[in-house]
């Protein structure tokens, strides 16, 4: 898939997944990978930026697998952002789809 597409939708997917339940990094990346094929390294910087933007709060929980897991939890600001970005995406994608359908009909 085109990397430019991926970058754009990655934030929506991440927000949506964390909105379902609190997630730790590895779990979150596994979930994201089910939707889009993405380099694992790029998700952590994204999570960092979104945390810095106060879309997430984080907390640590002990794990049997090794170091403690860092869980991401959506903030009120994050929820707001998800609503806005979702409606933006719907508008954007439907417009693009309509345009593509329209030009297909014109052919």
């Amino acid at each position: 898939m085109n990397t430019q597409f991926k970058k754009g939708v990655l934030e929506i997917i991440v927000l949506e997944i964390v909105d379902q339940s609190d997630r730790y990094g590895y779990e979150l990346i596994t979930e994201v990978s089910k939707v889009v094929d993405v380099e694992k390294g790029t998700i952590y910087p994204l999570l960092k930026r979104m945390t810095n933007d106060k879309l997430f709060t984080t907390y640590l929980m002990e794990s049997n697998e090794g170091p403690p897991r860092k869980y991401y939890k959506l903030t009120a600001l994050g929820k707001e952002r998800l609503v806005i970005i979702k409606s933006e995406w719907e508008l954007f994608s439907s417009r693009v789809n309509d345009f593509l359908k329209g030009s297909a009909n014109n052919d």
Binding site: G25, E39, G41, T42, Y44, P45, K70
Partner: protein, 300 residues
């Protein structure tokens, strides 16, 4: 890349961030790799999946709105500073260890002396006498060195003057020369100087004699050297007069050692000085050990 190497270089590249942020990021990657291993995959695979390392770092820095080049310049500066600090720390540690070793040795040595002499009062008296002896050597040693140098300098100057005087005698007649030699051969006393002066006044009438000013200069020089020598001896013997019996013993021991080294062995000056310095160090260490041993004995 192994996990350790990956996390280490990640830390290095993120130097510009706050320590808790770095810890947080490193912890996240560490736990990701751990989860990966728990799912039966290898460390290397997990790290490969992170993709290009530089892009990864750039992505993290972008999350903090930090320019990549700025961060790497900062990191280089910090690394240079750390290198300097490392160097300073290492060298100061080495020097510190050296001193520690010397003081450990002194401590150990003094404990040994103390335990050896602890048993009786007689032994304790010997200990104090030994201390006084070494201590007096330690005090007198440098004095002897200094005085020796002064005396050697003065003797050297006197020899120079002698040579000049002998040289000037060559231009006199054989009788005058002989007369002068007897004067020069004498110990330099007020009488002999008077004699020389008398001699001068006689030579004034002789047309062949050397011009007066140079002769006078030579004798005035000798006179001056004599005064300087006596003054130095008086000034520098005052501490000796003040020093006690053990001071004299120390003086003798040090002087004999010095003379032995200088005369009997025929060593070079450099070797002699080195030997003397080593000797002084040994005396210093011994003295310190004895002082500590005595302090221990007194405090008990």
């Amino acid at each position: 890349m192994t996990k350790e190497a990956f996390l280490k270089s990640l830390r290095t590249e993120l130097t510009i961030l706050k320590l808790e942020e770095i810890d947080d990021i490193v912890l996240e990657y560490e736990s990701h790799i751990a989860e990966h291993l728990a799912n039966g995959l290898s460390e290397e695979e997990a790290i490969e999946e992170f993709g290009n390392f530089d892009q990864l770092v750039q992505g993290i820095l972008e999350a903090y709105n930090i320019d990549k080049d700025y961060a790497s310049n900062y990191r280089k500066k910090v690394q240079q500073k750390e290198k300097m600090n490392d160097f300073v720390n290492k060298s100061s540690n080495t020097i510190g260890d050296m001193f520690d070793n010397v003081f450990d040795y002194i401590n150990e040595f003094s404990s040994k002396i103390y335990s050896y002499f602890e048993k009786s009062d007689k032994a304790r008296t010997i200990l104090i006498l030994a201390l006084l002896l070494t201590f007096s050597i330690w005090i007198e040693g440098p004095w002897i060195l200094f005085l020796g140098i002064v005396v050697m300098f003065v003797v050297h100057q006197a020899n120079k003057q002698d040579k000049r005087a002998t040289h000037s005698n060559d231009e006199l007649g054989p009788e005058k020369k002989a007369e002068n030699e007897t004067v020069d051969g004498d110990a330099v006393t007020e009488d002999s100087i008077e004699a020389v002066n008398k001699n001068e006044s006689e030579t004034q009438h002789t047309p062949k004699s050397r011009p007066k000013p140079r002769r006078r200069e030579s004798n005035t020089g000798k006179h001056l050297i004599k005064i300087i020598l006596v003054t130095f001896l008086i000034i520098f013997f005052i501490p000796f007069i003040g020093s006690l019996f053990f001071g004299a013993i120390g003086l003798g021991a040090a002087a004999i050692t010095l003379i032995f080294i200088l005369v009997r062995t025929g060593l070079s000056i450099f070797a002699t000085i080195t030997l003397i310095l080593i000797g002084l160090l040994i005396i210093f260490v011994t003295t310190l050990s004895l002082i500590i041993a005595i302090l221990k004995a007194v405090m008990k």
